[in-house]
Symmetry: D2
Subunit: 379 residues, 4 copies
């Protein structure tokens, strides 16, 4: 059985739409069946044709029509992929859920916490699956880290250091280009946070998915450069996970020399784990007083939960597309199992609950920074 999905957004050339479309179909678990890709009717039609929607009546002029019409069909879509700008996630997701359609949404979940919580509430009431594509949690070796921690391989966690330095804001502003980028600085469109919401949340999720820990309190400091931007471009957050477990999170969009340098280090009483996006198929593991070991995705010594997320023999690099594919893979497995009344073999993907926590995290950081870098509870 193959799932049918529709897509809202993705028709305006942003790379992330392409990544969603490929990710969802990568492992032949789902097929694009309907869509509303852009408001421009001609481009919308062309996109639907190009991406092999054979029944052109299912290339819709707006998402509401799509939700209504697909809901009427016996062979209607089973889930929708939302890859529009942040500000519209809420209304689109809500609309499809009201028509009984499961949701896969680009992060962040919504424009603000209230919206996010309402989406969570609806998903629960309607008993619908709601996934979020926090990309980096999809890498096969992140799953390995999670399983090793569960198995006690590093003892009790003591401290977590996560960072995500980028240079795109400073680099693109210097070149005075990037029309695309301008909306990204507008609080009316993106909300009360730039760097924290955009990439800080990736770290928050990566920590959650790899360690199983939840951030309880934050103490955040925001920096802004260029100085006259309305929102922060560099964020440092002290993390408190409770039980004397602490951490630090640094996200930056002005870090010249880094492009997409997300990295996590997890220190425990018996060992440590380290992952860097620079070599995304590698996980470094050190047992106390032992040499550091370099674990490589899909080797036989890796755990089955991780190997299921590898498509290629060890040493053949899988990248960003495939990490996305893994999130969709887990989501589709879960949905298929649900539809077939089975227990899924294994699924781990960020959900609406994670998205709500992410929104709370950002809100707490904004508050902490505004009030002079004080501790603020996330919940």
């Amino acid at each position: 059985m193959e799932l049918r999905f529709g897509m809202v957004g993705g028709g305006n050339g942003a790379f992330i739409g392409d990544v969603h479309r490929h990710g969802a179909q990568m492992d032949d678990l789902a097929v694009l069946t309907a869509g509303c890709f852009t408001r421009n009717p001609q481009k919308n039609l062309e996109a639907g044709r190009k991406w092999h929607i054979h029944d052109e009546s299912r290339i819709y002029p707006d998402y509401r029509t799509m939700a209504e019409e697909e809901a009427k069909r016996e062979d209607g879509i089973q889930f929708v992929v939302i890859t529009t700008p942040n500000v519209s996630h809420y209304e689109i997701a809500k609309c499809f859920m009201e028509h009984g359609v499961h949701v896969m949404c680009d992060k962040p979940l919504a424009f603000n916490l209230e919206q996010a919580q309402e989406l969570e509430k609806i998903a629960k009431e309607k008993d619908l699956l709601f996934g979020l594509t926090y990309t980096y949690t999809g890498y096969a070796v992140i799953r390995q880290a999670r399983e090793m921690i569960k198995a006690g391989k590093i003892g009790e966690i003591l401290h977590v250091v996560a960072e995500y330095p980028q240079d795109w804001v400073i680099s693109s502003l210097v070149q005075e280009k990037s029309d695309q980028a301008k909306w990204r600085f507008d609080p009316q469109i993106i909300g009360a946070s730039l760097c924290t919401g955009d990439i800080g949340t990736h770290l928050e999720q990566l920590i959650a998915q790899s360690t199983g820990l939840t951030i309880k309190r934050v103490l955040a400091r925001f920096d802004t450069y260029p100085r006259d931007l309305p929102l922060e471009t560099n964020t440092t957050v002290l993390l408190d996970f409770g039980d004397n477990i602490t951490g630090t999170l640094w996200a930056s969009q002005i870090a010249i020399g880094y492009e997409c340098g997300i990295k996590i280090r997890i220190f425990g009483t018996e060992g440590s784990l380290e992952w860097s996006h620079e070599m995304p198929g590698i996980l470094k593991y050190t047992k106390i007083n032992s040499p550091t070991m370099t674990l490589s995705a899909n080797r036989e010594y890796m755990c089955p939960e991780s190997r299921r997320l590898s498509r290629l023999p060890a040493g053949h690099p899988e990248g960003y597309y495939e990490a996305f594919g893994n999130i969709y893979h887990s989501f589709c497995e879960h949905l298929l199992a649900r539809l077939e009344g089975r227990e899924p073999e294994s699924y781990t993907y960020p959900t609406v609950e994670d998205g709500v926590h992410g929104m709370k995290f950002v809100k707490a950081c904004v508050k902490s920074n505004a009030e002079g870098n004080i501790w603020v509870n996330v919940d």
Copy 2:
């Protein structure tokens, strides 16, 4: 316009079939329309359905029928992807070419040089495109290397050092598993060479595609471990490109610690270039008496020919699938331009001529080794 292609092989679960199928369709330039995926009729049908061949009459029981039937259709396939074992490439490619179908073939081109040369001859006579998927030549930064060399950025080339260490033979033999692997040691199936033909040719092509140089003479030494295997598992080759340009090529399938460690270093009179599969989106460039520079795929400072092969913003890793996609991208561009009477903007993919040269290279290495490690002309 979207190209229609068929596929022979790929239905038995080998990962490479999957890589071909994804690669060919990655950029929406071609769509799988027909196929003969395996000899098992039930599995063949299932594969065709799963991969969305909507007209089930185009899921064929054998490749000859496929070639004949597709040739009769107005909307028949425009190219065929051959991803069967080495030994059958020749007859399948020949059959499709005789029916006027362009060919994309897994490497190596054929079982022996004679077959390879006949395929080359047919392709020329019929004026058909014939591509070969030497994967590593598809990485975006390899194209960057090629353009930088053309532009004189490293001066005149003096010396090339290429290596491809793997551990799979020694690792899998130790574990006494790998049914799949057994046929790989059978000279009846794979020909007169194991390591040289399987991965040495990847190096030969990588050198050719990145530098533009052609190997004129070789002096090869083969080693075999386990000692009783019929064919070599470790190959060292001194290379002579003429004009006092030299090089060394080392391919190994017993190199514990390496999985897919292909790497090339090109030394010139004014600078050097270095690429390693470990970080496939990075190209190291050193101008004489200057600091080494780390070039990253898809940055604005990269040349347009390379950037066209990147789908994601810099720092978002593209891997093995995407490298395959790039080879198909170039092939499809070329074919589309041909069909539309245009000049393609740019295409660089390994062709049947390259495949013939690769066969000659292997043959010369086998001879050099057999005769006591003497110089042997490739042509």
Copy 3:
């Protein structure tokens, strides 16, 4: 002219005494002439003989006698090296300064801020040189960083990220060994801070020496593991340099997988610099929108101020001993120039003022942590 120096401490086998002795004599600018190496008379004598103090009357039973006797001689020592535990630095340094002897002292400067400030006062009043061996500031490429920043190569500094993860506390406690280590956890011996004072101050100095910036305010969080230790073993500090320049400093002695992993990253408006102890002769430099460059110590493209601190051709690694040697080199140059009435060509070494600032930094961190992670002024 060669300087004469004496040494207090270094006779009990701690590696750091050896490092001082070698460092001071590495470039033939000074020679060990007198000493009081340990309280054990026999071992003291043996040490003095072994280290070529030819006049055995200059192997002293205690540091006071040494200060007095050397001060009486025309050929008395010109500077003293103090390499005893932290708690005795103050009295020894004070004693020698009162006898007109210049001082080179192991870090930290003193047991507490009051002592440190008194030493600073005496040094000023007596117009004596007083250096401190913050090792990492001695690497040749740190000097390169300083000069590049001065020359505007990275524009205005925006943010600094410094870290120093080690595993020695957690590793040695697990093994229940390390008598030597026990005193290191005793607040009566080491003062009010463990990790911050021991290695956090190395970061504070490294930031100061490489960037020229001074930390104005800190917000610190201390963690302790094992939980019942009296002092912190993991420190995270938010840094405020004024003028909207910020930073973060992380020092840890429980970071399994790291031995001496000091690293600094300096982000500016036009570029960035990065140095890691893992490869201490390398400095990474990225100009905005340009490939990262790997600068190597002693290449011709390095600045003269840095090259003066390299003894070997580029690529020949100089390590920890040589970094120490560079600090002594700068100190000796300065002292020689002073004695000869010249202006030294160039000297940069941490001084008593830096040591006082380091003590203030630690005190402010202790206070910030104790009061709930609030901002505390350093001065």
Copy 4:
């Protein structure tokens, strides 16, 4: 007991003299007592004074006088360090041995094989120690590799890949400077080989010392750039160790991007080892089908034979000077044990026999290249 040594050469400012002097005295096992540092009498005297030869009568005008005079003294030098150009090693070493003085000589041993063999013969007849400073064999982790191989940690050795790329010839010629370098290209001064003799022999020794293997046959190809130089600047050698054990050695002085990039990889039936000068305190070890482990000098898991060669805690980099110090350390231990009638605890340093083998290796390579890249026996 401390050994007394004299030095011939080292007074003309070449860095290697300094490295010898420091290395010999690093661990307080020997002290410089006599010398003939340069033919210039004034500079000779100054050098002797600067380096603390207290009895100025032992600063000699020529090495013959030094040998004679020191031989007459009861407290004469016990070994001599020879750090003059290659061409004079033979006569100096011979002279001192004839006076019963042990020898430590800079590599290569002599100008040609005949000289080398005579030195070997004299050393045997006189029962004198004769060490050679092949630097890279002195790193602590090279000793670890040797012990691990002896202990069977990588099974039977199958293949060795060693390389030593440098850029100094091409870089300095481009800048048309380097008076110092000119004599290095003169066959009258350096013999029949440039790159092979200068740095190829470092690889030959590194292989011997780390693996315990001896090269039986070579097949060498020399390249020369600039094309009109009299001797080779790039060397590739196929190695045959017998017993089906093979290897490759590549040395280059035109490899832009590399400064001192010596590296060795040793592949066995059960594992592999890898060392690179880039991080000289690290040894990579991979057991078959296991993650690669990163071993770090002086950790408790290292073998005692290696840890004895580390002076600093793990993670504190020791470099080129210290590697030299380790060779002297082993030599001095051996000599002290000899003089005291003890068995030394452990010593491993390259000897005159190794030097002779190195000369044979170069001679065989020269012959192989001259005769068209054929196999030539080393012995």
